[in-house]
Amino acid sequence: MASKSTSPSAALLNDSIKSLVSKHLPDDYKRVTDDDLYRHSSQYRHWSYTVGHLREKRIETNLKAVKLIQAKLQKFIDEQGDNISQSELQTLKSKAVPLTMEEELKLVNFYTKKVQVIGKHLNLPTEVIATSITFFRRFYLEESVMKYDPKELVHTTIFLACKAENYFIGVDSFAKKAKSTKDEILKYEFKLLESLKFTLLNHHPYKPLHGFFLDIQQMLYGKVDLKYMGKMYDKCRRKITEALLTDAVYHFTPPQITLAVLIDEDELLVTRYLQMKFGKPEETVEETGTEIVTPAKENAQKEKQEVKQEVKQEVKQEGEKSEQNGKPEDHPNTEKEEEGAETKQEEEEEEAEVPDGKDENTIELDKLMEQIMACKEMIASMSVVSTQDAKLIYAKNYYCQYPDIVIQKLKRKQEQEQEQVGSESKETTEEVSPMKKQKTDV
């Protein structure tokens, strides 16, 4: 394919070289980048969405469940036939209302928080808790809380996450610690695995965080207080866990989330670092002063070349970009004694990937900052679901599941009303009760 225009001898030469090296360098030879690898990950293939797509997905999951619930309620009403009075029907229709997508989301968020709290209570490593959170939220992208009671999935999720993260706890001792039972824990394990599309490997932002910290310390060596950095590191790890409770995980890559968390923690330091790393030399001079310009240039140049091509408008795709921003993670400069020669080799290989002089391959600091800020905003916009809200939603769902209970309650209430004039407050307390009853074992 090489040489219609070149001279025969050149073509010959070309071919002979090709045949010599062909086993190593096929015609379509292209070095595999970190981005390529991330794009092959199940996290990217199955669990990254645009904002619109994510919304559609939730609406779809909700709609399917609503239809089911409605059919179930109708069936119940039909079965009751003449046994159900008009007022009972009215009450039923007002109480057993299928949840909206937003309500589902709130309930999921509420229980995700529970997953986190229980994980901490069980003294699980951060990564295991992170995976539990991730699994739980993914499960409820695929399934509705109206079909699977979140309360019943909490322990199952944590138990599977332990195994997926190679942190095995026997089911009996897990049940004991979590005050649950073996059957409860294992009941939905297959279902969970299936809804997770059998994908169990998560890329959490903790590793990029570690990498960025090493890189920041190296690049700003002597200019940052190591004690301060240590504290900042711990804070950032906690913030990352919080970020995993937000939709940022579906729209941004782990290194982007890491940078958002970092910049939220110390905007000045991190901006300075990013400017050194990715800024144009002039910008660096202007904004950060002369003393730290020189070491940055070379590095920035190198990094720049690796990044540019991915810059696209769509959020999901923009997400890919920071893979390279996460590069330091693959260059654990101070970890050589642990990782040995292999890491170094990887590093050399990666460096070899950068084709010379492809100038359009520069990372745009502005674009990067835009992404990080958007990510940061999304993390910050996460609102806490109050227990009261969650209880109300839970009750609604409960009535959808058990319409007979609504009728029974109504009957009981009417009987009571005949004896004494009922107060309205009673109704609200009763409304909350199913959740309370169930909650004790959570």
Partner: protein, 305 residues
């Protein structure tokens, strides 16, 4: 939506799974179904099954076994894998099969590519052996069985050294190291390379103690000089100190092997895991650039004549 598969004859049974040959109904393509035994589970899904699913979902590569589908049937987990009729162990053992230096080079190259793909995805295989290097009908080597795989550990994370089938176990594992990395897999590939050349297992220890004896007798006992603080391992003191083999000794053992082939093998069988070659170093070795060039996998005849 689920495609349907037919299960035909049972071809193997492991501790946690039964393997069947089968056919994909849609296109009559041959497949293998690994049915994970449920009844055995005390703790829900088995860890090996979880590891296998976890890593195979991420590792798509011509030299890694392809996980085509997963489905549940009768509360069993079924992994649908590509059909791979042979493996390197069978081929090495079958003395009626003749293979050339170029064939060995081709197999080693494919193996290293598969292992490299694991490593660049931060996955350690931890059970490389000829039996786990399957061969496709087209002669392609595929790394299989990820039941012992794990992610590359964080620094200071403590690992179990009770991994890898004995004969392919790296010295740091023999010493009971709690920290190790990619180098354990490279060692295994080195031993497999030697086995392909010799056509008998290279370091066949009878038990764990004997494995050290066999390994160090063949390759020399590591010393502080080439592996600083190796003597800190508790079992080190009991060791017989053997000198490393001379180049001539190696050449006598591996006759008709080029010097770059020996270099590569020694790089993979370097005692000190820190000095052991990485998969990248191996893949870039002169061995793969010199003649004979690796055989075209499809041209290698592995069926006994």
């Amino acid at each position: 939506m689920r495609e349907s598969y037919s299960k035909e004859n049972k071809v193997g049974e492991g501790t946690y799974a039964v393997v069947y040959l089968g056919t994909r109904q849609s296109d009559s393509k041959k497949i293998a179904i690994k049915e994970i035994k449920t009844s055995e589970f005390k703790d829900g899904l088995d860890m090996s099954a979880i590891r296998e699913v976890k890593y195979l979902q991420e590792l798509e590569h011509p030299n890694v076994i392809r996980l085509m589908d997963i489905f549940m049937a009768y509360n069993n987990l079924n992994l649908v894998l590509e059909f791979l009729p042979s493996d390197l162990e069978v081929v090495i053992k079958d003395k009626s099969v003749l293979f050339t230096q170029a064939d060995i080079k081709s197999w080693l190259l494919m193996t290293l590519r598969g292992v490299h793909h694991c490593h660049r995805n931060f996955v350690l295989h931890r059970d490389l052996k000829p039996n786990n290097l399957l061969i496709s009908p087209e002669g392609i080597i595929k790394v299989a069985d990820f039941g012992l795989a794990r992610a590359v550990p964080n620094p200071r994370e403590i690992l179990t050294s009770n991994v890898v089938t004995r004969w392919y176990r790296a010295p740091e594992l023999l010493f009971g190291a709690k920290h190790y990395t990619y180098a354990v897999d490279v060692w295994s590939v080195g031993v497999i390379f030697a086995e392909m050349l010799l056509r008998v297992p290279y370091l066949p220890g009878k038990d764990d103690v004997d494995q050290m004896e066999v390994t160090f007798r063949a390759l020399g006992t590591p010393t502080e000089k080439d592996w600083p603080s190796v003597s800190m391992f508790p079992s080190y003191n009991k060791l017989q100190i053997y000198p490393p083999p001379s180049r001539d000794e190696l050449r006598n053992r591996f006759i008709a092997v080029s010097s770059s082939a020996l270099n590569l093998m020694c790089g993979m069988l370097e005692m000190n895991p820190g000095n052991r070659w990485s998969t990248v170093q191996c893949l870039e070795s002169a061995y793969f650039k010199e003649l004979p060039s690796p055989s075209n996998p499809a041209d290698i005849n592995i069926s006994s004549s």
